[in-house]
Symmetry: C2
Subunit: 234 residues, 2 copies
Amino acid sequence: MTGLRAVLFDTYGTLVDWRSSLLDELAAFGRARGLAQDWVAFLAAWKACYRPGMDAVNRDEAPWTTIEAIYERRLVELLRARAIEASPEDVQRLTRAWWRLRPWPDALPGLARLKMRYVIAPLSNASFAGMVNLAKFAGLPWDCVITAENARRYKPHADVYRTALGLLGLEAPEVMLAAAHNYDLAAAQALGLRTAFVPRPLEYGPGQTTDLVAEGKWDAVVDSVEELAAALSC
Amino acid sequence: MTGLRAVLFDTYGTLVDWRSSLLDELAAFGRARGLAQDWVAFLAAWKACYRPGMDAVNRDEAPWTTIEAIYERRLVELLRARAIEASPEDVQRLTRAWWRLRPWPDALPGLARLKMRYVIAPLSNASFAGMVNLAKFAGLPWDCVITAENARRYKPHADVYRTALGLLGLEAPEVMLAAAHNYDLAAAQALGLRTAFVPRPLEYGPGQTTDLVAEGKWDAVVDSVEELAAALSC
């Protein structure tokens, strides 16, 4: 792909399997306390705070708030509603479970190949610290870390993609976004970035109905990060 | 060192030998054009724009300007004053020689050891892109990149160190700055960061008179990044 210099990655879902990792952490938390709880439903309710919390920031209805703070507030509400006792340390440990997520099997080998030829970085709605800690845990070999926190806006706000271009000192066609989510690619493409769709049909578990197919004319549609590396001659 | 989580590094001078690397590039540029020129004096005059250019930003006398833009402007002036012809491509290639600097011999092995236990990142007055490209060229194995550009202020302005703490989500005593320059350590220490002095007596060549000895009570004074790793039990 002529002139391509950097490949940015959505991370939650695209590179790491947040759902099964978090279900393990929640189940372990429950077992240690002898709790009978539907953790699948609990996690769905927890994750449901993600978009509204970010949209409020993007619409200037809330001040800049990291995704951890949004998740932590929601977690406290959910635990309280279910009368589950948890210490502040429990709440922090569970919130930071978002920093301990397993990569999909193709992510690390694919990133290692891409890194030899391109600058690779996350472009995530995570906090900067969250993405640094996740990279350390999961072994994501980033050249640098860029997140919504650098723009103090959340994807798909244009400021996030523009901030990445500015920090990297690159023009939009020199940068590709790879993501498992069509909405993210649409926002990047609107600004001139190249796009790669990496569907993750199990991100939301066996019943997933969204983001199963490409909903736009993306530059690449691949089944794995390794396939993306091959498509980009790495 | 109890509670330490991250080690930040000044980069130009502390980790990479900018002077000998740039002298090689300037000499090669001159040889290819048959120029007789005192490149040592030329480089000293070029580097001399560094502090005034940054101070103007810190005093709000100039808008945010990356260090590359400051260097490029000064380079054009110096070439013109010496009647040296250079194309825009020449100017860009020479300016970006600041992205192609050799690490001191102890830097890479020391960083590799520190990375196993701590988050490691630059805290440089470079542009973000400059630091990303330098890391790629020199093999600096950063967990993330943080530069003055993230704060739009230059060290030793407190905003630069505070921005790093904010992005890393850490308190000052959890973070150490390692630098070859006493002024940088003094600013970090004033905010509560830990400090390590790594003198580089040849940074400015054989006649160097500054930063040869510790001028403050730094937490560590070491002769190399490998020695710092050992001091931090890595």
